[in-house]
């Protein structure tokens, strides 16, 4: 009987549930200074890199072949190299600092369903990083195009693939944030979780050194996938952007599922 009324509680506000857990996680995220430092660094790095890179594109010096394959957007989002690490770190911290401080026991005392805590964290972090990512992606796009000098061809949002590239550039850091949250729930320690994330984002691609392996890296490792998702002209051997996006969403779901499994199984 208790179980039934408790289940119903999530919907009729007759007990804690998704809505109250979200409110808790939102209060937690915004009341820690590092959140806003990280979001600000994320915004600055993406926009500044776009400005710098497209301002020094050197189109005039390119060969005819290079001009033919010139992608007016492609380098705009190079700042994602740093940006992905910032959103990933933000979400790692939201869970590992709870374990290091003992806050996690206050959290689980308030919301005993641990998978619900992780889902609420994912929803709040996902919303914040997606909103920040999309705003910053459009700002970076505009800054990059403004910095790009004639005779280089400029992109407009109406051209095929441009809107998709900008939207996916904004969504990518949010997906890395969700992967980071899952890794953080699994590893529990800040340094260990960030190392794991750096390993996946930066070290793993180095192991894919031969040309045939590089195709795999481009299609199956997050940063390679980001390159293809944010390019207007398709890269050789790349899977379609929509498929890469779906695959990356799958990675995020898998990481969160592993994190939820670890949270519910282990003692807090």
């Amino acid at each position: 009987m208790t179980t039934i009324s408790y289940r119903a509680g999530s919907f009729v506000r007759n007990g804690y549930g998704f809505r109250t857990a979200i409110r808790m996680e939102w209060h937690k995220l915004r009341s820690v200074r590092s959140t806003w430092w990280i979001v600000a660094s994320f915004a600055v790095s993406l926009a500044a890199v776009a400005l710098l890179v497209l301002g020094h594109e050197g189109y005039a010096r390119l060969s005819a072949a290079d001009r033919a394959s010139f992608d007016p957007l492609h380098d705009t989002f190079i700042g994602l190299v740093l940006g992905q690490l910032l959103t990933g770190t933000l979400s790692v911290l939201t869970i590992t600092t709870e374990f290091s401080s003992g806050m996690i026991r206050s959290t689980f005392a308030a919301v005993p369903r641990r998978s619900l805590v992780l889902v609420a964290k994912a929803a709040v972090l996902g919303a914040v990083t997606l909103a920040a990512g999309e705003i910053v992606a459009f700002v970076a796009y505009a800054a990059g195009q403004a910095a790009l000098q004639a005779p280089a061809p400029h992109a407009t949002l109406g051209q095929p693939g441009v809107m998709r590239a900008v939207l996916l550039a904004g969504a990518y850091p949010a997906l890395i944030a969700l992967i980071g949250l899952g890794v953080g729930a699994l590893v529990r320690h800040t340094a260990g979780a960030i190392c794991a994330l750096v390993g996946v984002l930066f070290v793993l691609p180095l192991l894919f050194f031969s040309p045939s392996l590089q195709n795999a890296a481009q299609n199956f490792l997050p940063h390679g996938m980001a390159n293809s998702m944010t390019a207007v002209k398709p890269l050789a051997h790349a899977l379609p952007p929509a498929l890469l996006f779906a695959l990356l969403c799958g990675y995020a779901v898998a990481a969160l599922a592993a994190g939820a499994w670890a949270l519910t199984r282990r003692d807090a």
Partner: protein
């Protein structure tokens, strides 16, 4: 009126048996002292009551329900299991506001518990800067947040100044007099003698006695002496009688 019922609790950490077939009841309307030497299993047992650690066997019910089945946990059970169960970068008020939000508790209750614990002036300071005594007060504020019928306090007097110790004694007695269930652990016998009426004594994870302070101290005349007799065989960490060698 809520009773905590532990039945045959067993908790093993790798090779050590932290809690061994522990069975006891904690009744409402009285302060129950939870006494035992360091490493006796007090904190482990409290974590199992809260559903934070999973027992290897046995079960514990709060008013007939598992902790995980409570609909508004903070409104039914308030706990301070460790002094610093908060993020050091968050202010006391933000910490309490976040917890309150999870259980549909209004913001004015946050101000109330800050006032009750004497934390109103420190409410907007970051909790990482607090002394141990201030951290304890914040922990107690969090425990009181949902005005719960059951309170679990693990070593609440640690780090409190004499005024704070007197305050928490009165607080616990008042809460019990209102009909609430209050379980307070301590390794300080004199502290338990001041506040508790009922007593649960454990050692090496075993129940040594479920009794009252009056009964136990009647055996030998002093609670302290009775406690040492009770725990004689089950104390893990004991210093030696150091004579010194100054010449």
């Amino acid at each position: 009126m809520t009773t905590i019922e532990a039945r045959g609790l067993i908790k093993r950490y790798r090779s050590t048996l932290a809690v061994d077939r522990l069975t006891f009841d904690v009744h409402p309307g009285t302060v129950t002292g939870f006494l035992g030497p360091n490493g006796a299993g007090k904190s482990t047992t409290m974590r199992m009551i809260m559903g934070l650690d999973r027992p290897d066997a046995g079960q514990v019910r709060i008013g007939g329900r598992r902790y995980g089945d409570l609909r508004w946990p903070l409104r039914e059970v308030g706990a301070m299991l460790e002094a610093k169960a908060f993020h050091p970068g968050r202010t006391a008020r933000a910490h309490l506001t976040a917890l309150a939000a999870s259980n549909g508790i209004g913001r004015q209750r946050v101000d109330e518990v800050l006032a009750i614990t004497g934390m109103d002036k420190a409410a907007d300071r970051r909790a990482g800067k607090f002394s141990l005594g201030m951290s304890q007060r914040l922990g107690i504020a969090a425990a009181l947040l949902g005005d719960p019928g059951v309170l679990l306090l693990d070593e609440p007097v640690n780090g409190l100044d004499p005024e704070g110790i007197r305050w928490i004694r009165h607080l616990m007695k008042n809460l019990a007099n209102q009909g609430r269930t209050v379980l307070v652990s301590s390794h300080l016998i004199s502290e338990i003698a001041h506040t508790a009426d009922a007593l649960i004594v454990i050692g090496q994870g075993h129940l040594l006695a479920q009794t009252t302070v009056a009964q136990l101290s009647a055996r030998t005349g002093s609670l302290e002496e009775a406690f040492f007799q009770l725990t004689a065989g089950v104390t893990d960490y004991r210093g030696n009688n150091y004579q010194g060698n100054l010449t």
